[in-house]
């Protein structure tokens, strides 16, 4: 012991502590993953359109003008033409982004709330609790998801709130499964054991110590889930079970355009494109985030 007292080294600190998120690092990540860049840009544009819809739109989305019905694109100052009531299609699509994103974000938030909590509990406690919860998840998963949502909306009645509720209640199973799988791995980590030895309660360990460590897969699945929710909303609206007119919804506009598909195919084409591009954006973003978090794991 005496011997070591003479030579005492200060151990080096590898890096300086960083306080704020590094802007350069974020830009670097963006340039590294093209799908995050492209997906992010699409998502950004859609969100921008939704927020600033009144500024971007060229007309009033609810203003009917029978004289101008079924105009072709670029006719009479209508960028994408008009629908059967003479409403400007471009404006309707811009306003439709609001509905799609609102349904997407809130229903995914609801699914997250249910799924993450249930997944955390199932994974952490294990045993018969896990058994019962996961069998219940299996039962929910055995239904065709969209049919279940249709049944729910049919029971509750159409309308934006019920669509959100139905999608939230139907899609939580994915999150529950993924969170449970992460928790199973994380709860065996030594820092969880260490948290126990300093006297943390189960609640604290689950939400303070485990949850932040399984955020990466949650973010990926939630981003992909936004795309799924938007398609589901469009499908429900297409079937007349979702958003009720005159509110602008991509699915409903697409469905209505079907009646005139021989004369004015673009009436269905443009809302369809809007749905496709938005979902593509979320999927690219989700995939990109997954790749980035995965490669981080590999680097370790």
């Amino acid at each position: 012991m005496e011997l070591f007292k003479q030579v005492k080294f200060d151990e080096p600190v590898r890096e300086k502590a960083k306080l704020a998120l590094d802007v350069k690092e974020i830009l670097y990540v963006l340039t590294k993953s093209k799908s995050v860049l492209i997906g992010g840009m699409i998502v950004f544009i859609v969100i921008f359109c939704a927020i600033f819809a009144p500024l971007i739109a060229t007309h009033d989305p609810y203003q009917m003008n029978i004289g101008d019905r079924l105009l072709k694109p670029m006719e009479h100052g209508h960028l994408l033409g008009t629908d059967q009531y003479g409403r400007d299609l471009f404006t309707r699509i811009i306003y439709g982004a609001r509905v799609s994103l609102e349904v997407g974000f809130i229903s995914v938030g609801l699914s997250l709330l249910i799924g993450v909590t249930i997944g955390l509990i199932a994974g952490y406690y294990g045993g018969w609790i896990d058994m019962i919860i996961m069998r219940f998840v299996d039962i929910v998963l055995s239904f065709p998801v969209l049919l279940l949502a249709i049944a729910l909306v049919a029971a509750l009645g159409p309308g934006i709130q019920n669509v959100i509720l139905a999608l939230g209640v139907v899609y939580w199973t994915n999150y529950a499964r993924i969170v449970r799988a992460s928790v199973l791995a994380i709860k065996e980590e030594e820092y969880i054991q260490a948290a126990k030895t300093i006297g943390s309660s189960d609640f604290r360990i689950i939400f303070y110590n485990i949850l932040p460590n399984c955020l990466a897969p949650i973010v990926v699945v939630a981003t992909l889930g936004l795309g799924v929710a938007i398609i589901a909303e469009a499908t429900l609206s297409f079937l007349g079970l979702g958003i009720q007119p005159p509110k602008a919804s991509w699915g409903w506009t697409l469905a209505f355009g079907m009646k005139f598909i021989r004369e004015t195919p673009y009436l269905s084409l443009y809302p369809g494109l809007a749905i496709m591009i938005t979902v593509l954006g979320f999927n690219l973003l989700g995939d990109g985030i997954r790749d980035l978090t995965d490669s981080k794991l590999k680097r370790k």
């Binding site: 012991m1 070591f4 007292k5 030579v7 005492k8 080294f9 200060d10 151990e11 080096p12 600190v13 590898r14 890096e15 300086k16 502590a17 960083k18 306080l19 045993g127 980590e189 030594e190 820092y191 054991q193 260490a194 948290a195 126990k196 030895t197 300093i198 006297g199 943390s200 309660s201 604290r204 110590n209 932040p212 460590n213």
Partner: protein
């Protein structure tokens, strides 16, 4: 007479699987005096870590802890019969633990300062600026340079030795009465090992804490511990003051451990070793558990398990040889399990 900080009596930790039941720790009794450092030595899989987890009440199901009592801090508290809520109040506050692997025992998503502050928040309800001051003070205490900066670091930015210092700061946060250090230096470089040991020893003396040091390194034991328990296959095979054990080991296993330490100036010699390995619990021999590796094995060893025979006032060894040599005759025989 000095009071004992910890008194463990007949501690048994049983694991049940679908096929079999075995005792990872099998009826061990020991005590830790106030301000004393007790070493627990043994090979991997001999039940050292399970012993410490049993004391903390953190054995995971299907593990089950039983025994007569685990008395903590005098006569007041019996850890065996506390419920989880009362145990939580003790953990981190009165009994703290330091782990083997500093690389993985810090939560990667939180800053160092917040992690140390966690203990203070849970037990002392200290928050905000006051908490930060206290944490910086703790960082200084464990010899971390530039504590104000390290406060905001993440675990991955620190080296192993620094992280172990952080773990020690976490353990010290509430001035515990007993520290259980589970191989605190095993994962570190040799030079850092000495520093960390010295730090632990210093803090222990300064705060008057008791300590259980679990290790497989007899060198560490000789430097830090007052008394030592040698464990083999879930049993204590020898116990006593460090000096006596190192100079006059009685159990063949302890002798084997000592003989397998490398020595200065004997570079041309081959290291000696104990042949074989610790048997898995389901293969434990009926008699002495060391019998299949023991060079001095006798017929009796295969038949019955030797109890701890006193050698001197405070040294004990569980070996029939000790009894054969007639040092002690009036020991109660333990029945064969």
């Amino acid at each position: 007479m000095q009071q004992n900080m910890l008194e463990v009596s007949n501690l048994t930790t049983t694991f049940t699987s679908r096929k079999s039941t075995f005792n990872a720790v099998d009826g061990i009794s020991f005590h830790v005096e106030k301000g004393e450092t007790l070493g627990i030595v043994g090979e991997s899989g001999c039940g050292k870590s399970v012993t410490s987890l049993s004391i903390m009440g953190l054995v995971k199901p299907p593990g089950k802890v039983s025994g007569k009592h685990i008395r903590f801090d005098g006569d007041g508290i019996d850890l065996l019969h506390l419920d989880q809520k009362e145990m939580r109040k003790l953990r981190g506050n009165e009994i703290a633990m330091i782990f083997q692997e500093p690389m993985t025992s810090l939560n990667p998503v939180y800053r160092i300062g917040n992690q140390i502050g966690e203990t203070l928040k849970i037990h002392k309800k200290i928050k905000g600026i006051e908490q930060k001051d206290k944490v910086v003070e703790l960082l200084k205490l464990v010899g971390i340079p530039r504590p104000d900066e390290i406060f905001y670091s993440y675990p991955h930015q620190l080296s192993g030795g620094m992280r172990q210092r952080v773990m020690i700061a976490m353990a010290m946060a509430c001035d515990p009465k007993l520290i259980i250090a589970d191989e605190p230096t095993t994962a570190l470089d040799v030079t850092i090992q000495a520093q960390i040991l010295e730090l632990i020893k210093e803090l222990q003396e300064q705060k008057g804490m008791s300590m259980i040091l679990i290790t497989h390194d007899l060198g560490v034991v000789s430097e830090v511990c007052d008394r030592v328990l040698v464990m083999y296959a879930g049993k204590i095979v020898e116990s006593g003051p460090v000096k006596q054990i190192l100079q006059n080991p009685q159990h063949p296993y302890t002798k084997g451990l000592l003989a397998s330490l490398p020595r200065k100036g004997e570079s041309h010699k081959r290291l000696s070793y104990i042949p074989g390995q610790v048997p898995a619990p389901k293969n434990w021999p009926k008699g002495c558990r060391f019998s299949d590796r023991c060079p001095y094995v006798m017929d009796q060893c295969y038949v019955s398990l030797p109890p701890l025979f006193p050698i001197s006032e405070d040294q004990h060894a569980a070996c029939w040889l000790v009894k054969e040599e007639g040092r002690e005759a009036d020991v109660k025989h333990e029945t064969v399990r």
